[in-house]
């Protein structure tokens, strides 16, 4: 076997082992990592390099297990950073709120956004269940101007939306919930710097 073929075999075996070790990641992420490491090895060993050079390059990267372990650690940290769970986001925002004014503002805006969104969504749904007792009632007089979002109880004033409350409430509520979630996620990504990952 030629030196070049031998090097190729060593490299392929290394990358295959690395790919196996990265099976916990998504295929896209794992393949991206393997291709980047392949490019690195090719760049360092361009041409007909002796197999010792290839071995030294692989040694500098660490064993496939060590290298994969470092990537897996980063992946865990990444998941913690961008977990797609509103509960996680809200918990993170709460922790952030206890640490800085900016965190407190983002947390309060998020709470208001979630409450408004959920309220509108529930109101839209309740209109379907109890149409006569649910609505947005406008109370207008010389001294008073009020909008009552209510379901049940004694309604007063003029029902402004009627059946339109169903699509508007559901749609606006859902959009507000999604926007609030994305706002929280964006704020955490952009402004919050937890120390945990920096020290890992």
């Amino acid at each position: 076997m030629t030196s070049s073929a031998d090097s190729q075999k060593t490299t392929d075996a290394y990358l295959a082992a690395l790919r196996r070790q990265l099976r916990e990641l998504t295929d896209e992420d794992a393949n991206d990592i393997v291709e980047e490491i392949r490019a690195h090895i090719l760049d360092k060993t361009s041409g007909d390099t002796p197999s010792e050079t290839v071995k030294a390059t692989l040694a500098a990267l660490g064993s496939p297990e060590e290298l994969a372990s470092r990537y897996r650690t980063e992946e865990l940290l990444k998941r913690a950073q961008i977990a797609r769970s509103p509960a996680f986001i809200l918990r993170s925002l709460f922790r952030w709120a206890t640490l800085s004014v900016l965190g407190l503002i983002v947390f309060l805006v998020s709470v208001v956004g979630y409450c408004l969104g959920a309220g509108l969504f529930i109101l839209g749904a309740l209109k379907l269940i109890s149409p006569n007792r649910t609505g947005v009632y406008g109370v207008f007089s010389t001294h008073t101007w009020a909008l009552n979002f209510q379901s049940g109880g004694q309604n007063s004033g003029h029902d402004l939306l009627g059946w339109w409350l169903v699509p508007i409430g559901l749609l606006l509520g859902a959009v507000l919930l999604v926007l609030t979630f994305r706002f929280g996620l964006w704020s955490i990504r952009k402004f919050w710097r937890p120390r945990a990952w920096q020290e890992a």
Partner: protein, 136 residues
């Protein structure tokens, strides 16, 4: 009788490793300040422009982390060498982070230099030790 265990790495060397590791993120962001580079270019840039000895197996996962955090973005680009390379560039958030970190670094190293003044004469007499202290 068994041979005595090899001596543990010097505490100062351990500290140096921690110091280098802690500086690596800023060093990578700084390396990308002037434009996009691929992984090996970043490593070579760090080696030729600094005293940092970067372990390759550490740098690539760190680049992945920086990308996840939105501080750098990456793209695959076909190269003349026959294989594609993954290039990294700073995002606006990455530029902002680099500036903030550089400011903190300047302030910190300035105060440390001042604090180390009494030691400087002795340190300068020992070049090797002088590199370890890392006066800027």
């Amino acid at each position: 009788m068994k041979d005595p265990a090899p001596p543990a790495p010097d505490a100062a060397e351990k500290w140096e490793v921690q110091l280098r590791r802690g500086s690596l993120e800023l060093a990578i962001l700084a390396a990308l300040w002037d434009g996009r580079l691929y992984g090996l270019e970043i490593l070579r840039h760090l080696e030729s422009n600094s005293d940092l000895i970067v372990v390759e197996g550490t740098a690539y996962p760190l680049l992945t982390r920086l990308r996840s955090l939105g501080l750098v973005e990456s793209e695959w680009v076909e190269s003349e060498s026959g294989h594609p390379r993954k290039y990294y560039r700073l995002t606006p958030a990455g530029r902002q982070r680099a500036l903030e970190m550089a400011r903190i670094w300047a302030r910190f190293s300035g105060s440390m230099t001042q604090l180390l003044t009494p030691l400087s004469k002795e340190v300068n007499n020992k070049n090797e030790a002088g590199r370890r202290i890392g006066t800027p």
